[in-house]
């Protein structure tokens, strides 16, 4: 028993600091001041270096300010100080979930600047490799979202599918994650022996795994309730912010560069572009599941139609000459030396070119002064505008909605930080 004479209490209790001030109301004392919390940079829901400064009123977010953080590689400055070919490893690291798409997107812009046509077979292989990496990216996103909302099994299934793709990518390029597979004018190497049947087998297995993932998530009350009706963005706002890819299509805008302005051999292949209605997290998730199925269709068709022929242009000013020529002829030596030491002579001028990466429009604005090095490399990474809209989406909503919203935009640190 406490003795009131030993613990004197003020006549008028302060409702903000004195818990006993509300005893008569038979309810717990609630903090009435606004609360500021830092989510990240080491919060499991924030990816990599991102930090979110959140101002809370109860559980409602009043203000959110994302800070990208310091993952600096100095992408643009680095590219402007190396040769065109040496930019490739930097482009790989923009989106480490779909390295080849970044590779090929950059090369496509350079080839447009030179005015170069690449061989038919190289175009087909670029499509196949891009779609494999699109599946890789979407599987990671869907699995990670399930994990962060409490589902571990779907995460394991999607990562199993992703590992199968990684194995095929390793056989194709020699690297698991950052591949540097493309070259100006074509590709580094041809498909390895027996790769096509193996890939088809992997695709079959991934489709089986997807059925499991869908079954586990679509009928899960917790998952559906947290995704449906959260993180809504209207079509008009999505365009205003510069959304592209699955996030834009979830808002109901039918825009896919593969259909709008086909490049490589996309116009020869048959596939659909899924479009959502509500622009919420659930639609973004459905878009990714649908695109996984469409990518599967594209790869199977492309593998069937794959023509024979060279995989890189036969032009020694652009592609390295074959080794016997380098060792046996003076022209071969000279070309090899000049390409390695000085880089590819890209004519002066500028170009803007974009491809459909897994998260949206990956645009490149390149300026060349005629030397072997780029004068200016601007990358329009899809993740940057998508992340910039987060405060707009989340302000006035619940703190718990931040997690699925942040997951479904699939923010990639490497491309947002330039």
């Amino acid at each position: 028993m406490s003795d009131p004479s030993k613990h004197p209490q003020p006549a008028v209790p302060n409702p903000d600091t004195d818990a006993y001030a509300h005893e008569s109301e038979l309810e717990a004392h609630l903090q009435t001041k606004r609360m500021y919390i830092n989510m990240g940079p080491s919060h499991p829901a924030m990816h990599g270096t991102v930090r979110m400064k959140v101002e809370l009123e109860g559980e409602t977010i009043v203000k959110a300010d994302p800070e990208i953080g310091f993952l600096h590689r100095g992408f643009q400055k680095s590219c402007e100080n190396v040769t065109w070919t040496q930019c490739l490893p930097y482009t790989d690291r923009l989106n480490y979930n779909s390295a080849m798409m970044n590779n090929f997107g950059f090369l496509n812009a350079v080839e447009k600047l030179i005015g170069l046509e690449i061989p038919e077979r190289a175009r087909f292989i670029r499509v196949i490799a891009s779609e494999l990496h699109r599946m890789h990216d979407h599987l990671t996103c869907v699995g990670a979202t399930a994990l962060e909302l409490g589902g571990f099994a779907p995460f394991l299934y999607s990562i199993e599918g992703r590992e199968l793709i990684m194995d095929r990518v390793t056989e194709l390029t020699g690297a698991r994650l950052t591949t540097s597979y493309g070259r100006v004018g074509g590709l580094n190497r041809d498909l390895p022996e027996g790769w096509i049947p193996k890939t088809i087998k992997s695709l079959d297995k991934i489709q089986e795994l997807l059925v499991e993932v869908e079954g586990l998530l679509m009928k899960n009350r917790i998952f559906v309730d947290r995704m449906k009706g959260t993180g809504i963005l209207s079509a008009e706002d999505a365009l205003d912010f510069g959304y592209t890819g699955p996030c834009l299509r979830a808002s109901g805008v039918d825009y896919d560069i593969r259909k709008a302005r086909p490049y490589w051999v996309y116009d020869q292949l048959d596939f659909d572009v899924p479009v959502g209605e509500h622009g919420d997290n659930y639609d973004r998730y459905i878009m990714r599941l649908e695109e996984l199925k469409q990518s599967d269709r594209i790869i199977r068709q492309a593998l069937q139609k794959l023509p024979a022929g060279p995989i890189i242009v036969d032009d020694w000013r652009i592609a390295l000459p074959p080794k016997p020529e380098v060792y046996g002829t003076i022209e071969g030596v000279m070309s090899h030396f000049k390409l390695v030491m000085e880089g590819i002579p890209v004519p002066p001028g500028e170009v803007y070119d974009s491809t459909e990466a897994s998260n949206g429009e990956l645009g490149w604005y390149l300026v060349s002064d005629g030397g072997g090095r780029p004068y200016k490399v601007h990358v329009r990474a899809p993740g940057f505008p998508i992340l910039s809209a987060i405060p707009h989406i989340i302000e006035g909503k619940m703190l718990a909605d931040l997690i699925p919203t942040f997951d479904m935009i699939n923010m990639i640190g490497g491309e947002v930080e330039q």
Binding site: E236, L239, V351, K376, R380, A389
Partner: protein, 172 residues
Amino acid sequence: MDRVSAHLPEAVAERYVDRAGGAWSVIHAQHLPKVVAYLKNDPELNFKLFVSIDAVDRLHLAENDPRFEVVYFLYSLTRHEHVRLKVRVTESNPEVPSLVPLFKGANWWERLTYDFYGIKFVGHPDLRRILLYDEFQGHPLRKDYALRDRQPLIPERPIKDIFRGPGTSGLS
């Protein structure tokens, strides 16, 4: 761009086509919001998708006066084409009107361009650095910023066997 030239003849300073066939227009800075609003709101043009903003430091190019070029990209979903605009600004007065009132997405791109090139966007609601810290001196993507210049917030400990290579300004 023909329609823009016809509708706002005083705004367009120069037009040309690049090697890949893309059409560029150079716009006078003070007319930029008018041109962009026209492109966005005209029902036939319909350039509603905001793509990106960046700048080019033309210091080492043959044609380098004025020094900076701010480049804008918009996309039309009905016409399926990009429009590219450029605004040239001088080094002594690098100011461009902000597009934030027209496009919400311009907010971060303008902050990025300000951070990297030091170009000021007049009318931007929250113009501060986005990737670098507030104490950072200079703008790293300008061509006269040394490649390996370092400005650590916390002093770096000396490491004996490290060679940072050429390109440092000797400041740190």
